[in-house]
């Protein structure tokens, strides 16, 4: 692949669709197979594809390592926040039905969606960080 034209062009076309597909899997966790972890893995795969096609330098300009360090903990924070909100509203940790929303079904739907987003962010960030570290280990 000394001239990467074809792989690069195809990656350019595919990456946005892969990212949207990952978010679709995230949002349809209740209706089909999927959920936060799978969505995070697919989203991470799109970034891995970017690194493979365009190289690490260009990827580092686009996706900052610091942002991923931040996101790793931000995902856990979202997860914990949803859990604690349930406790503040009078239930147990992650007992969604106690959230102050009109119906119990809506409450548990939004609660699960919230923690899935947290899981998604953490999984994406951790996977990308692992990949960056493994790909760069020869540089030290």
């Amino acid at each position: 692949m000394n001239e990467h034209v074809i792989v690069q062009t195809i990656s350019k076309i595919l990456i946005p669709f892969i990212q949207l597909y990952a978010l679709y899997v995230l949002a349809h966790g209740e209706l089909g197979p999927g959920g936060g972890f799978q969505a995070g893995a697919i989203f991470g795969a799109s970034i891995v594809l970017y690194v493979l096609a365009f190289g690490m330098k260009s990827a580092k300009l686009r996706f900052k390592s610091k942002v991923f360090d931040f996101l790793t903990s931000a995902g856990v924070f979202i997860f914990a926040t949803v859990g604690v909100l349930c406790m503040i509203a009078g239930g147990a940790f992650l007992q969604y039905s106690s959230l102050p929303l009109p119906t119990k079904k809506l409450a548990s739907g939004i609660g699960i969606y919230g923690i899935e987003i947290g899981v998604f962010i953490t999984v994406t960030a951790v996977l990308v960080t692992i990949f960056f570290e493994t790909a760069e280990q020869d540089d030290d």
Partner: protein
Amino acid sequence: MMFGLAALAIVVAAIMVLYRGIKGPRVYDRLLAINSMGTKTVILIALIGYMYERPHFLDIALVYALINFIGTIAFLKYRETGRLD
């Protein structure tokens, strides 16, 4: 019935390709066999989804196609440059 027969044909094809993967002789022949088996697996997942009337399998087939592609590209890149980035 129909889907079962089609799935059987694809499994037979996958076994034939697997023989090429074992025999080689070069690493590229093996990689070709693996890539080919991966795309056959996509079809197999779709057919099995229809056999058991569970169309959600199609989501998995799409993800498998994607992972197969990225895996092939990653392995080729590693072969060529000795590193992943």
